[in-house]
């Protein structure tokens, strides 16, 4: 192996070795409790699908280079070298983990396998072996931040095409703009995805609530986080933070995208604005009486899939249930405790890898499909783009016979004039 690359990989591990990370790497007792907590192992019970197997791929390298026993007696501590095979081995472990952190809930030591996999993803980037698509998508996002003026022109052209759809959902008072942009001192900066479905229902609801809002020029999703590149993650995040600061907004509301919400809410340090998920904002509007919703017919059964990054990892659990309670009479929980709801199986960048991962995604998420089927609900609601795509794929693959819907679009369709 190229000695320079070897050094760079060791440095990358060393930079990640915080006290917490060392605790994760040092304390695993190999009890195996995490195995059945992972949807991949629960669906395909093979040892290499366990969280502990994934973590060991990094732990063994850590032992070899950062622990005395591994340095002196590598054969005893099962320490392994970084060599030309390392990238191939890490690709399998890093990209079979969706980062759902369900295993962490069950582990007696709270070991966060997703965090350990962040080392694996970083090593893959150093070895230029990360999934090319994810890096490409991250670069596209960064490029938009670098050329805001040309982005603006096309972005506004795009908005013109969907204004009528917003007004169709909620009629505006004369003189009001359907999709406002560049509003200084707005109460909310809404950060959507690059898709009309992420803008139209949200805009109608903001307008119905009489919100003083403005739409961000940038899409919320952070492909830098999916690929596990901290510098790209920050560049993508900073585009939005700088826009929010420039416009002096009070609150940044993140659309239905789990990773975007978690990165903005938890991984971006101190900010001069509040961060909310769109689900939290909608729940607030209902509580404050700013919007009113018309319930579905009593015989329409619904269930809700908790996006891992919004619920288990983001704490937004009660709000979607409160909103659904206003719309549906027949609501069916998929698991006794929403914190242990199964991952959809599409996180961590797997959905964005499209056809490349579809076979793995379908096999590894059988437990999710079973959970949906068991609910016997007609409508499967979720609040994350990634989950929605994966659930749509599962619906088709396992013939679940449900209709997969975004929570925000259900709210928009239920608005009472």
């Amino acid at each position: 192996m190229d000695p320079k690359l070897h050094q760079e990989m060791l440095k990358a591990i060393s930079d990640k070795l915080t006290g917490v990370m060392q605790m994760y790497l040092d304390t695993c007792s190999r009890c195996g409790i995490c195995a059945s907590a992972c949807h991949v192992y629960a669906s395909v019970p093979e040892f290499e699908n366990t969280p502990v197997y994934r973590a060991e791929s990094i732990r063994k390298i850590y032992k070899k280079y950062f622990k005395l026993q591994g340095k002196l007696l590598p054969m005893i501590g099962e320490a392994v070298d970084i060599d030309d095979n390392t990238a191939d081995m890490l690709k399998k472990t890093a990209y079979s983990c969706t980062g759902c952190r369900r295993c962490m809930v069950y582990c007696p030591f709270g070991i966060d396998t997703q965090q350990i996999m962040s080392i694996a993803k970083l090593l893959l980037i150093k070895a230029e072996s990360e999934p090319e698509i994810l890096s490409m998508l991250a670069d596209v996002s960064i490029s938009k931040g670098d050329s805001l003026d040309s982005v603006k022109e096309n972005f506004l052209k795009g908005l013109k095409k969907i204004e009528a759809d917003v007004v169709e959902k909620w009629k505006l008072e004369a003189g009001k703009v359907a999709i406002p942009t560049e509003v200084e001192n707005a109460d909310i900066l809404y950060v959507a995805l690059a898709g009309a479905h992420s803008i139209v229902p949200a805009a109608a609801i903001f307008n119905a609530a009489g919100e003083n809002w403005t739409l961000s020029f940038f899409e919320a999703v952070n492909f830098g986080a999916f690929v596990g590149d901290p510098s790209k993650t920050k560049l993508i995040l900073d585009r939005i933070i700088n826009e929010a600061i420039r416009l002096k907004v009070k609150e940044v509301c993140i659309c239905e995208c789990g990773t975007a919400y978690r990165v903005m809410a938890q991984l971006s340090g101190d900010k001069p604005f509040k961060v909310s998920s769109i689900t939290q904002v909608h729940a607030r509007y209902i509580r404050e009486g700013r919007i009113k919703l018309k319930p579905l017919p009593a015989d329409v059964s619904v269930t809700y899939h908790d996006p891992c990054q919004i619920a288990r990892n983001g704490g937004v659990i009660d709000e979607p249930r409160y909103i659904i309670g206003q719309i549906a009479k027949d609501y069916r929980e998929m698991s006794p405790d929403p914190k242990t709801n199964w991952c959809c199986g599409g996180g961590g960048g797997l959905v964005a890898l499209g056809d490349e991962t579809i076979d793995f995604r379908m096999k590894s998420s059988k437990v999710k499909a079973d959970q949906v089927k068991k609910s016997r609900a007609k409508i499967l609601i979720t609040a994350c783009e990634n989950c929605h795509t994966q659930l749509d794929n599962l619906n088709e693959h396992y013939k679940l016979g449900v209709e997969v819907k975004f929570l925000s679009s259900m709210v928009a369709d239920a608005l009472i004039k």
């Binding site: 698509i133 490409m136 998508l137 670069d139 596209v140 996002s141 960064i142 490029s143 938009k144 050329s147 040309s150 982005v151 096309n154 972005f155 052209k157 795009g158 908005l159 095409k161 969907i162 995805l193 690059a194 898709g195 009309a196 992420s198 899409e219 999703v221 492909f223 964005a352 499209g354 783009e385 929605h388 795509t389 749509d392």
Partner: protein
């Protein structure tokens, strides 16, 4: 075909969820030779900002963008 631009391959990206249009155009451009033209038909207005940014980072050139009803049509020349 559009005016004088003749496409060598066409891909339909209509109705695809985020970020699939960019993922598929990135794949599609590799299926034409350098110098040839890919015609990509998208329906989501998000493509109007995504595709130019993708062309810039991937080193390809958008020769023309047409709008026909709800369709947004890009003619992209593979440069490398």
């Amino acid at each position: 075909m559009s005016d004088s631009i003749k496409e060598d391959k066409t891909i339909d990206l209509k109705g695809l969820p985020c970020p699939m249009p960019v993922v598929k155009v990135n794949k599609g451009i590799k299926q034409v030779d350098v110098g040839q033209v890919l015609k990509a038909i998208a329906s989501d207005p998000g493509a109007l900002t995504d595709f130019p940014a993708w062309a810039k980072t991937s080193g390809n050139e958008i020769l023309k963008t047409d709008q026909e009803g709800d369709d947004i049509i890009f003619y992209i020349k593979r440069l490398k």
